[in-house]
Amino acid sequence: MTAPLLSVKNLTIDYIGETDDFRAVDNVSFDVAPGEVFGLAGESGCGKSTIAFAISRLHKPPALIRKESAILLDGRNVLDLDQKGLADFRWREVAMVFQSAMNSLNPVLRIEQQFYDVLKTHKGMRRAAARDRTAEMLRLVDISPDRMRDYPHQFSGGMRQRIVIAICLALDPRLIVMDEPTTALDVVVQREILQRINELRRKLGFAVLFITHDLGLMVQFCDRIGIMLGGKLVEQGSADAIYRTPEHDYTKKLWASFPSLHGGVLR
């Protein structure tokens, strides 16, 4: 395996209470190779979103990342970045797409303007160049570039989510963290978006950290998968291994929780 793009080492995160702490993430380590899709699966409260937040350094008190933790991107510890380094890092190296990302578009600005704001701040692009880039990115996510003068409310939820993804891709990040990016969307739209992202990562070479509770979907999309339970990474392996030869009881139990389209449950 090539040198990992992202390397999470001994990540431990506590939520500090008045008298005692809640351990949300417990000594989690995993690597994501360049261009790889790594999935984190688990139920609500298992710590998967807490990890996503830590990678983007989005945590607020009372969250506390314990000192032995390290999050290395290309060998550089993300946890050591200062405010300025962080601003640069967040868009150019790592982009985030959340479940409610489609609601993060500014409702009073045209799509074009929202692309321009990002491109100007992070790449110092001028109007004309930014417009070309916007058209290119919209085409990538199957939205007609002549709609860039429209406002967010003129698009459906799935289209807005694709626009957010296009904005994220516009800066050529090397890693995209996707936390339940399609959970609020219908299955057909979900499939369209994820399939498109899969094509794009083959083409552009970015890596994806994909977080969802839907194991079936995860196996379709991911190269490797980690299963989380109560803050711990209980099993990790190739998507095929997690599907066909799960080892941990919890992984087996999760599989047995999904009804199959062909009758019975998936496993």
Partner: protein, 296 residues
């Protein structure tokens, strides 16, 4: 974190506030045990300064200030809580009915609410009190109750509109629960914090307003209350003759009660909106950051 059924006990503001109010209440109830003087009678020479005989001195006409203070607490508390209760009952009932029933009923109630809301309160009270002339505390409480419910009604209506959308209300409707039961048993218990804030706020308002009206001479001067104490002291030019005890005693009493009730109100507010909570909840987090145990 454990949730307690009595969150007020764990809130320091609430505890201090409750202690203050309870203390004043105890004083009012125990008034005859605390002083042997008749608060209305002339029991000494005019404007005596505080002494062992008269702990807080005497008034211009020789009444004992301490006796007036403890007996006056009864009136002020009774009017405050009486009017506060009336204001809260009317406001809550109208707010829930308007919010839950909607349509024509809402329009009518909202119309009256807005009308009462735009009429300036104190001038109206002044006019009413002047019209009645030397109003007794109970009349003042009644007037306050009838003119001050609008704010509570509005807030309660707004909150009812959001609670009404909840599935548990829909479920009760589908089950065939009668409307009155939905309003009193499904919606009302979820408005408790708003009703509590409304009640305490109304009590503070009623106590201050009653004192104001009496201070301005619109109350019955024969009644012993903190407002008439202020009125008497003002009329006797207590400050200019140096009888500070005569005027400062009711002032401090009112302020003390006001502080107690306000602390309770903040506490209820904090419990209803956890975001308002302050204090050293992040203390441990900060010390862990400082000691290098971790970072963000």
């Amino acid at each position: 974190m454990k949730t307690s059924s009595f969150p007020l006990i764990h809130n320091r503001k609430a505890m201090v506030g409750a202690l203050i109010v309870a203390f004043i209440l105890a004083v009012a109830i125990a008034a005859p045990l605390l002083t042997s003087y008749d608060p209305g009678a002339r029991v000494g020479r005019p404007h005596q300064s505080p002494s062992l005989e008269h702990w807080l001195g005497t008034t211009r006409i020789g009444q004992d200030v301490f006796a007036r203070l403890v007996y006056g607490a009864r009136t002020s508390l009774a009017v405050g809580f009486g009017a506060g209760l009336l204001i809260t009952i009317v406001g809550t009932a109208l707010g829930i009915i308007a919010g839950y029933r909607g349509g024509k009923i809402d329009e009518v109630i909202s119309f009256f609410t807005n009308m009462v809301l735009v009429v300036p309160n104190l001038p109206l009270l002044l006019v009413l009190a002047a019209f009645i002339g030397q109003a007794s505390p109970w009349v003042i409480a009644l007037i306050l109750g009838c003119t001050s419910w609008a704010w509570g009604a509005r807030v309660t209506r707004a909150e009812t509109l959001s609670v009404k959308q909840k599935d548990y209300v829909k479920s009760a409707e589908m089950m065939g629960e009668p409307r009155w039961r939905i309003m009193t048993f499904e919606i009302f218990p979820n408005l408790i914090s708003i009703v509590g804030i409304n009640f305490i706020g109304s009590v503070i308002f009623a106590i201050i307003t009653q004192a104001t009206l009496e201070f301005l001479g619109l109350g019955d001067p024969k009644v012993v209350s903190w407002g008439t104490m202020l009125y008497g002291a003002q009329k006797a030019s207590a400050l200019s003759v140096g009888a500070w005890w005569d005027i400062l005693t009711p002032c401090f009493a009112l302020a003390f009660l006001g502080i107690g009730l306000s602390l309770l109100n903040f506490a209820v507010d904090e419990i209803a909106n956890p975001r308002l909570r302050t204090g050293n909840r992040l203390g441990r987090w900060q010390s862990l950051i400082r000691s290098g145990e971790g970072r963000l």
